[in-house]
Symmetry: C2
Subunit: 176 residues, 2 copies
Amino acid sequence: MKSFTILILAIAVASTILAALPFALGHAEDEATPIFGGKLPDGYRDWGLISVAHEEGNLNDLRAILGNDVAIKAYREGKLPFPDGTILARLAWSYVPSEENNKVFGRVQSFVAGPAPDWYLQFMVKDSKKFAATAGWGFAQFDKDGKPADEAKLKTCFPCHQPFQAGDFVFTRYAP
Amino acid sequence: MKSFTILILAIAVASTILAALPFALGHAEDEATPIFGGKLPDGYRDWGLISVAHEEGNLNDLRAILGNDVAIKAYREGKLPFPDGTILARLAWSYVPSEENNKVFGRVQSFVAGPAPDWYLQFMVKDSKKFAATAGWGFAQFDKDGKPADEAKLKTCFPCHQPFQAGDFVFTRYAP
C-alpha cells in the first residue's frame, strides 16, 4: 500500500508540473526567450547582403548584415518601418590580420574574418504583435556551435537599439 | 574637286579603321579588356556572401566578397581549382566612422560602409579556355557609375593574385 501512495503522490506532482508547463512556455514565447525555438532560421547564410562593418574595442570584429527577402526588399525600397516577416542576421568574425595578404602587399594592411566570437550570430525578427513590447522586434543570439544566448542576455538587445527610432530601431543602412 | 579628294581620302581612312576594328575587338576579348562586354553581370548584388575584409592604407575600405551559385558551392565543398562558371564579386566601400553608432556605444568603435571608391566593384570569372593566359581567371572592375576600368588597369590584377597559386589565385577564404 505504501508504494501505491507514493505512486499517487508522484502522479499528482507530475500533473501539477505538466499543467503549469504550457503557461510557462507560452509566457516565454511571448516575451524574451530565444526566437526560432532556439534553432537557427533555415537558410540564413544564403540571404542577401545588407552591409558590412567593423567594431573596435572589446568586440574587435568584422561583421556582415544579411537579410531575408522581405528585409532586402524593404531596404531597397526605403520602406520604414520594416514589415512583419523581416529578419535581419548579423554575422561576426574576429578581426585578424592576414599575413598571407600582407606579404603580397608588402605591408600590414589586410584584415580578414577570423574565428567566430561568442556573439557570432544575432537576429532581429519583426512581428509587430508578438514583440509589441520591444517595438515589434524580437532578438536572438547564437554562438558558433548554434547554442542560443539566455534570456538575460537578450534583454540587453532592445535598450541598445532603442535610440534608433528613426531607422525603426535598426543600426545598419543598406550599402548599395 | 578639292573637296571631292578630301572625301575620298576620308572614306579610305575610315575604311582602314573599320577593317582593323573587328580584329582589335576580337583580340581584346580574348585577352585583357573588361569581361561581361563592359556591363555588370546580372544579379550580382543578390549573390551569397563569401567573406568580409578591411584594407588599410591607400585603400582604406570595407569590403564584401560575394559569389554566384557555382562559387558558393565550390567554397563550401572546398573544391579547388574553382570550376568554370565561377564568378566572384568584390564590393568595396570607404571605411568611415559611424557617429550615430558611436553615440550609442559612448566611444569611437564603429566603422561602417561609406561612399563607394573608384574600385567599387571587381569581378573574377573562371573560364579555363578563354583566360588560359591568366590561370583561367578573367578580371573586371567597375566604378560606382558602372564605368569599366581600362585594359591597362586590368593587366595589374593577375600579377597581384599570382602568388596565391595554392588557393587557385583567390585571396578570400570562406567565412562560415
